[in-house]
Symmetry: C2
Subunit: 414 residues, 2 copies
């Protein structure tokens, strides 16, 4: 029927048959749960990839422009400035067509030479990656292990650097994604900033979620990827480069080509890239950076802190304990309760359309992890807490149903 405001129905259409036709969906019908019908929607709470704002996705689908033209250069100049803001630095930030690992490889191989002494601070799966990478490139790497769930001890770093003042670089995670632990980057930067040693921060998952003040703290290189706090699909890697790092780059003898920061910095001065950039992701980046700048980076950090604290309080209220001793705002890491089969949590949530992450390495089946990273708000926390409650209830965990959601509500109302 067709209505105009204030009028009566204008026309009545007679349906072709008196019976409403039955309809069989071609694919899977709605998902049934506990006697109710749940319309299947997909929810991503992985610590990357994250849910991408629809306006960002739409921007990535704009018609291509030529990257070697005056159409591209002002766009690239704008996003390169915007990146400085989210890295909290006046230093150049270069963009690669790569994942975050590629960006970190660029930071590491562009600043050291084979045989150089470097220190890799490792307390989880991603910290280990930079130790492996250093070995692949023939660095004299001291892979310093810390217990998983703890951040690296700054005193230990001070001690190591005192013993080896020739250390070329220290590698640290902002957030170790595998354990949901934030490192005290500020304290470690205090130790390195007035020495010849570079501090290279893996902020792949942490940037925008956990506070990072690159220049104020004296961090030299920060790497990240697009599919985390920057709220884009994966495919871009970013690295900020301090003046001290730029000096080190001149001396680096490590073989490299695509991931050469020297090449990238040189082209960045001309508002372009040495190799073809992933232009459509950069269209999206412009929109995402506009959103972050409109909110303000300190407000973005505060929002992530609030969402993470609400999540943590909710988990405690349903008889769960937190894995990390220094919990990050990037991702909330929860110990699997004793009364639950840990191998089933991720799968149970997946069946509801909710993606979270399990444990990696020796933590497999022992923890579960969910992130409210990027384009997430308080409603999203309520949703994931309800979903976790449903899954744990289904798997036989003993807790007051609703206590998690109530704890988050109470915290957010406070």
């Amino acid at each position: 029927m067709l209505f105009l405001a204030g009028s009566k129905p204008l026309l009545h259409f007679r349906p072709p048959s008196k019976r409403i036709p039955s309809w069989k969906p071609a694919g899977n019908g709605p998902q049934h749960m506990k006697g109710s019908t749940l319309l299947r929607k997909n929810y991503i709470y992985a610590p990357g990839p994250v849910s991408v704002p629809p306006q960002v996705l739409a921007a990535t689908a704009k018609p291509i422009i030529h990257h070697r033209s005056a159409d591209f250069d002002p766009l690239f100049k704008k996003v390169s400035e915007g990146l400085k803001y989210i890295f909290q630095t006046k230093n150049p930030v270069v963009t690669f067509a790569s994942s975050g690992t590629g960006a970190m490889e660029a930071a590491i191989v562009s600043t050291a030479s084979p045989g150089d002494h470097v220190i890799s601070l490792e307390s989880g799966k991603f910290g280990e990656r930079w130790g492996e990478l250093s070995q692949a490139y023939g660095f004299d790497v001291d892979r310093v292990q810390f217990e998983w769930g703890y951040g690296p001890d700054p005193n230990k770093v001070a001690e190591l650097l005192k013993a080896r003042p020739d250390t070329k670089a220290v590698y640290i995670e902002l957030c170790e994604t595998s354990t949901g632990t934030v490192s005290d980057v500020k304290a470690v930067a205090e130790i390195t900033r007035n020495t010849d040693t570079l501090l290279i921060v893996d902020a792949v998952s942490g940037l925008c979620a956990d506070e990072l003040r690159s220049d104020e703290w004296g961090v030299d290189l920060v790497g990240t990827g697009s599919q985390k706090g920057v709220m884009l699909p994966p495919g871009l890697g970013f690295v900020s480069v301090s003046a001290k790092a730029q000096e080190a780059i001149k001396k680096s003898k490590c073989p490299k080509f695509y991931f050469s920061l020297a090449k990238a910095l040189k082209e960045l001065e001309k508002n372009t890239t040495p190799f073809t950039p992933a232009v459509n992701l950069i269209f999206g980046l412009e929109v995402a950076l506009d959103m972050i700048q409109a909110e303000g980076i300190e407000n973005v950090w505060a929002r992530h802190a609030r969402l993470a604290e609400g999540s943590r309080q909710a988990m405690k209220a349903i008889n769960c304990t937190l894995f990390s001793k220094a919990p990050a705002n990037t991702v909330t890491t929860v110990n699997v309760p004793d009364d639950v089969d840990g191998s089933k949590i991720v799968k149970t949530l997946k069946e509801m359309g909710v993606i979270i992450a399990g444990g990696q390495g020796h933590l497999k089946g022992k923890i579960f992890r969910f992130a409210t990273l990027g384009y997430y708000n308080e409603f999203d926390v309520i949703t994931i807490v309800d979903a976790v409650e449903q899954a744990l209830a289904k798997l036989g965990h003993k807790f007051d149903r609703g206590a998690g959601v109530n704890a988050a509500q109470k915290y957010f109302a406070g």
Copy 2:
């Protein structure tokens, strides 16, 4: 006014004023040319990036899925099979989040070791790139120069390999984009295929446009990027890897991490990637590969051959000569006529909304290049030929206006 089929207008709205309001566009209004009004539309005829089909762009804007989940693996399996088809190989094809240069770096650094003797066949800007890359990684590289506009001479390759049977690999372009020249890859593969020497083909611009039968000819590694014949935005790199290349990969001592083919091949067996893939571009890749498979790769090659031949005949008909002695179907390379200022052609076309490329290196200002690469048909040739006619006429070139378009029409009608 509101109409229903077969009815009279239901309501008459009185316009607020009897005068049609005037309207000033916020940005640039329509572009005026020669007394007529040209609605500005953008046309890309660069040899990459290329115009992306709207259905591919739309697919890239789909909501993100987690790449470490059962949602991704079947998609990645499907596109990895589809890639084999366009590479004409039964060998695995790996996908990187990178540009085509990244894919070529992976092919080169994964198969040789520092000190290895390799031969780089160079007759243009992109051939030079692999020579430079080999030097960056410490290979004993013989950078063999051929005159620009000619493909590498297979007899010379045979001679060089006879003198150095220990040669680890030969690098060749399928299409040297800077000169629009196709190499005789088949003839060179005849020489390498029954030896221990690998043949590595840079098909970044050429794939899908110039015939390449990887397995039938005996090519070992082929690299390409997404923003060319594959009809995607930039951001993905692909490499096919023969059994002989897989053996070489096991012995390679070249330092690498992100661009390790060994890592990529291992994960490909599990239908995934070692590092976060550029998932949304892979959504688009699925659609693009479906399109290529529906057309058939031989038909795709034939279409490119037809469009390139139509373009060449059109250029000759307007008193232009072709630069390349072995013209590729990827890109048409035209000598700037003597009566025209070569530095103005690209700019003049750009003002009409038409992007083509100029010359690189010592060919700057001496040639212009336009590609009908990927999602292009005969109408697109007519359009670019008319655009080139307009630009050359404006710049004072003497020719029969319309002769270029007529020549293309005649060829396509034949």
